[in-house]
Symmetry: C2
Subunit: 257 residues, 2 copies
């Protein structure tokens, strides 16, 4: 397919590379900042423009990969209303496209994208929603070319997935960062935790996290919990997080203390 990317960030970069590898052509890149747009256009071997209104009319799909708060603004200036255009956000509903956009859709990859780590995952889930049958079919075909996991879900369910992604990705990573801080302050190396972090993720690749749960709160081990809370006396925020998550584990599945 012929694809136009709007947005020159990590998402366009990752998707662009994946899609080109599958034989699709990026026919144009539309960016805001000259520097990142030229750099990405070079990588995707495509022409570019900094003007949304000068966007090519010759594409099968337009993928809108800009920050959430810019989506509505870009749509307002987008000149080809009946073309197949999809945004890529987990938390913005399909209804962000005005009525005239009869082939609007959503192409939401449920993954975290970073500059220095190209994805190759054939299990990358892509969530599809579309206003028309042909657009839905086209987006599913596009997604199927890069992954085995394509699901059609509506905006409400997509928001639940996005929220869950915040819990499992952003919040877990923050727990890693808090630990790094605590260890740094005592001259201990964060890398000691890496095998444990790898195993924590590996376990739930087949099992349910409910059965994989271990630890003092799961066992109702009040002695250890008290030791940890005492240790955290000088870090009240982390102490609060520790208490709340332990309570929540006990509530979900632990024996009462």
């Amino acid at each position: 397919m012929k694809i136009v990317f709007i947005g020159s960030g990590n998402l366009s970069s990752h998707l662009g590379i994946l899609l080109r590898k599958q034989g699709h052509t990026v026919v144009q890149l539309v960016g805001k900042s000259e520097a990142s747009t030229t750099a990405l256009a070079k990588k995707l071997k495509c022409p570019y423009t900094l003007d949304v209104e000068a966007i090519s009319s010759d594409a099968d799909v337009y993928l809108l990969a800009v920050p959430d708060h810019e989506i509505a603004g870009v749509i307002k200036r987008f000149p080809h209303k009946i073309k197949c255009i999809a945004h890529t956000s987990g938390s913005i509903p399909l209804s962000v496209f005005p009525k005239g956009f009869s082939n609007a859709g959503v192409f939401y990859p449920l993954q975290t994208f970073s500059k220095n780590h190209q994805l190759t995952h054939r299990q990358l889930p892509v969530c599809i929603e579309a206003r028309s049958k042909p657009m839905s079919a086209r987006l599913v075909r596009l997604a199927n070319s890069i992954t085995e996991t394509v699901v059609e879900i509506d905006s409400k369910h997509r928001l639940w997935l996005h929220l869950s992604a915040v819990l499992v990705n952003n919040f877990s990573n923050h727990l890693f960062a808090l630990s790094e801080n605590l260890l740094d302050q005592r001259g201990l190396d964060f890398k000691l935790l890496r095998p444990l972090i790898a195993e924590t993720a590996a376990k739930v690749m087949s099992a349910s996290p409910l059965t994989a749960q271990t630890g003092p709160a799961r066992r109702g081990d009040a002695v250890t919990i008290e030791k940890h809370l005492k240790l955290l006396q000088s870090s009240p925020k982390i102490q609060k997080i520790y208490r709340l998550l332990s309570e929540s584990i006990e509530e979900m599945q632990g024996p009462s203390l």
Copy 2:
């Protein structure tokens, strides 16, 4: 070396299998419950007893792998005070061994062990502490036979590592479990989150979690945070966790809202 295991749970099972593979001999298993002790003795191809006082005197190292609250009791009944005995707990200090135990130590593997998932990790960190130089050298040698990562640290630092392990393992897993619940209730499959969980762990294998942090709180995206909090109105506990962790991310590294 000739090793006696005291305790017939996951830890003895995993360590026993790893150590036997490296040519060590399990000369005896000491257990509490007949069923689990005979089963594990069969796996480790060794004799067993259910009586701590009948423990063999012919071993180079005694590894005490029982629940934390049973450690002191077992030590009290252990008949060979000057032998090399080490417990395997992150949160119990070396001082749990009375003075007479002149070769006591700690052999703490920083990892999560589950029944159905044998570890093979050469990076498994093992934390060593010992009351005597010979005991320290012996435990380091034992650890080095199964892993590349052996660190000597004292009881205070070990407790910090144990606390960090709770944050990165137990609490992350609980966030996975909460997400599984939320998705289940909406007919969405937890497996959609698996590639994201795998990538979350993969990212911090080389990078610092501080630089790997993404998400609404990191970006100061108050609109998305509000959407998520509203969605969680019927789950006050998760809402509280969401709010607290978002605040903590902002405090550590996000722009002010």
